[in-house]
Amino acid sequence: MTNEEIKSAVTALFPTVTFDETGEFLNILIDSKDLRPLIKALRYNNEFDCDFLFCLTCIDWKTHLTMVYHLLSKKHKHAFVVKAKIADINNPEIETVSDIWQTANFHEREVYDLFGVKFLNHPDLRRIMLDEDWEGHPLRKSYVDENMISI
Amino acid sequence: MSLFLEISFSAMANGLHNWLAGSISNATLVSVTEMAIAGVSLLLFLVPLCFFLGYMERKVAAFMQIRLGPNRVGPKGTLQIVADTVKLLFKEGLTPNASDKFLFNLAPIIVVVTSMLAMAPIAFAKNFQIWDINIGVLYVSAISSLAVIGILMAGWSSYNKYSLLGAMRSGAQIVSYELSVGLSLISIVILTGSLRMSDIVASQADGWWIIKGHIPVIISFVIFLIASTAEINRAPFDLAEAEQELTAGFHTEYSGMKFAMFLLAEYINLFIVSAIAATLFLGGWMPFHLGNWSFFNNVMDYIPGSLWFMGKTFLIIFIIMQFRWTFPRLRVDQLLTLEWKYLLPISMVNVIIVTMMAIFGWHL
């Protein structure tokens, strides 16, 4: 599908979403609370059929966090990005997508580890890279490491 | 030359016996002293043999792997294995805290002793034998299955999960491959009609069994090679110590001299199975003879029997080494499939054919 078709199809289902077309991919912007219905539709509706989540990450914008899901459909060969804004930076929470794409399991654990985003209903939410007793989340912009040697 | 060697050994043994009997009045003491002398001389033979086998294995592996192998210590690296032994001697023999200390320390001794015991009935040359027992073949096969006790003991007492798994694998493996080894030995026993090693060798004076016995004996020879490789836990059947899966299997926790004893036992076992294969199938110390070519046969006779024996043994050792450096390792269930689905039925049928051959005299 072309970007225009995706836009109209998504808008028909979810009137509240907004779009951003400045980048390489079509960005679908949504609030973190409404993420799951949209993701489910994108995965299971035949017109989208995004079976491949090729990248899942998070961006710390200092005022808020943005979860970024890069989706690709192997069948329709279209790719786009879903961005979910998490307003609460101190206690970020979002629904998991690990039951929809199994790869999200590890990627969400990584985001939890490095950004501190809590994924609700995640089957096994533990730190993945760092020790269990590590304090703070290193990829957050507010993270300060006293032991860091600046060069 | 050959006669000289053979006679001198018997003469030496008899002379020693007479001298001991003359100087010591107590008969028990005489036999104990004789045993001690035999044991020490066996060790004096075995340790250099294992050094050589260790060196040989490294060089064989290296040449097959397009590299040079040990070449720094001593001329052409010959002293490398001595250096390794010295290193192992000076290493601390750690005993894990939670292990069963008695069994842990006993296991390597059992492994070495059982493998040394199996040396007894092997005929190196004519009359050159520690103990020409009348049930030689049975004795060897009985003793060699005792080795599994040492391995199980080592694995269990180490208090290590890898060791335990390795020991269990080894148990299953040796128990099943014992059957094939036994059956392929039996085929020669049937043909010879004797369990005595010297009789088996003597029966091959007019030709080795592998030639005389046609295809069935060749099949049992191949089965013996495969099954005995499995029984001495060498690759591709080294599941008990499968490095990639269980780090080192049953000897994970061993270090220093105790580890060296496992290594020693491995090489002694390698030598023993090759020696038995050489004795049973390739005619032991008997030279190679060709029908009526009397000149050729005379030349062959001129080579001492001990050289013939060693040559055959090392040929088989080389083949077993080549197995190790060519093949990937089997999985534990495939190992058992190979035994129960292929080797055992074939060797059973083979024994029947060999029996018929022996009854009807089809062999040469």
Binding site: G23, D51, K77, F106, H107, L130 | A61, Q65, P236, P328
Partner: protein
Amino acid sequence: MSLLGEDIMTEEGEFVINIGPQHPSTHGVLHLKVWLDGEMIKKVQPHLGYIHRSIEKMSESLSYRNFIYATSRMDYLSAHINNQACALCVEKGLQVEVPPRAQIIRILMAELTRLSSHQLWWGCTGLDLGAVTPFFYAFREREAVLAIMEESCGARLTQNYCVPGGVMYDIHPNFQNRVKDVIKQIKSKFQEYDDILSGNVIFEQRTKGVGYLSPEDAVSFGCTGPTARGSGVSCDVRKWFPYDGYEKVQFKEILETGGDCYARYMVRMAEMKQSVYIIEQLIDHIPEGDFQAKTKAVIKLPKGEFYQRVETARGELGVYIVSDGAASPYRIKYRSPNFSNLSALGHMATGSKIGDLVAIMATIDLVIPDVDR
């Protein structure tokens, strides 16, 4: 002295062994916690992070020219392709045209990297399955490939040869002749590879039907590269989203339908031949011209987000740069192929034996620094 059975099991009666982080069969510091039932695997849980160096965080404080070197240390076996991905992503942001000569050099180097990576993998697969000898045969050819790298890039593994706009310097004058020699040598050795490993009955037994991954699972787990292509999932980035002129090169995307270790093995073996084929096409047709486009001394990407993916030897590497217009990236994310491929390991290994776990790990071809980053 307690009874063995009581202590060695957990309270729930489970037998757990730790494979790694220092274990002969893990290719790096991977730690797998394996729940066993006899020889059978009930559950596998990877524990990561033993070599986590926080390259993403480091890159946030480095300039666009500088962070590229760090990616060589991620997937060190396809270091050049990692560098290429970063360079491409920066070029995408700058909208710089890479000169054709640089593109061809990059492809050649990338294919040589893939070749050397697969050769190492082939040797290690043999090693993991207990055959030591293939390792040395593989290294003989790999050394020759690395010598090409060393001659032209100055380093064997961590080349750092790609810079935004092209390559750092021109290829060595000997490059073409040396590549031709090496390709000839490698082509003559493929038969040996088959003789000693591919055709071997023990090897077939160890890999066929082991570690099955269905196409649906492969996609769901985000598997890419030979791991997914062994299951019949078409995912070659060079075909799907061509970069650096791959659209002009002829090659086949290798697909196998088996989904087991043997299929993944066969994909990689065939990919080696495809890499050789690509190199043969291009080696005589390196266009004359610049090897680097003119870029500013201090690169500043415009505000925005840039995503670039490439096909490394292990799968799809994505570089996701979020720029706020400064001289260093605001956020950079490496979507590493191994991280996703590893997540399928537990699924594949459950129900097989310990020996199979080793075979599965070997055919996923894990590089742990890339998982941990």
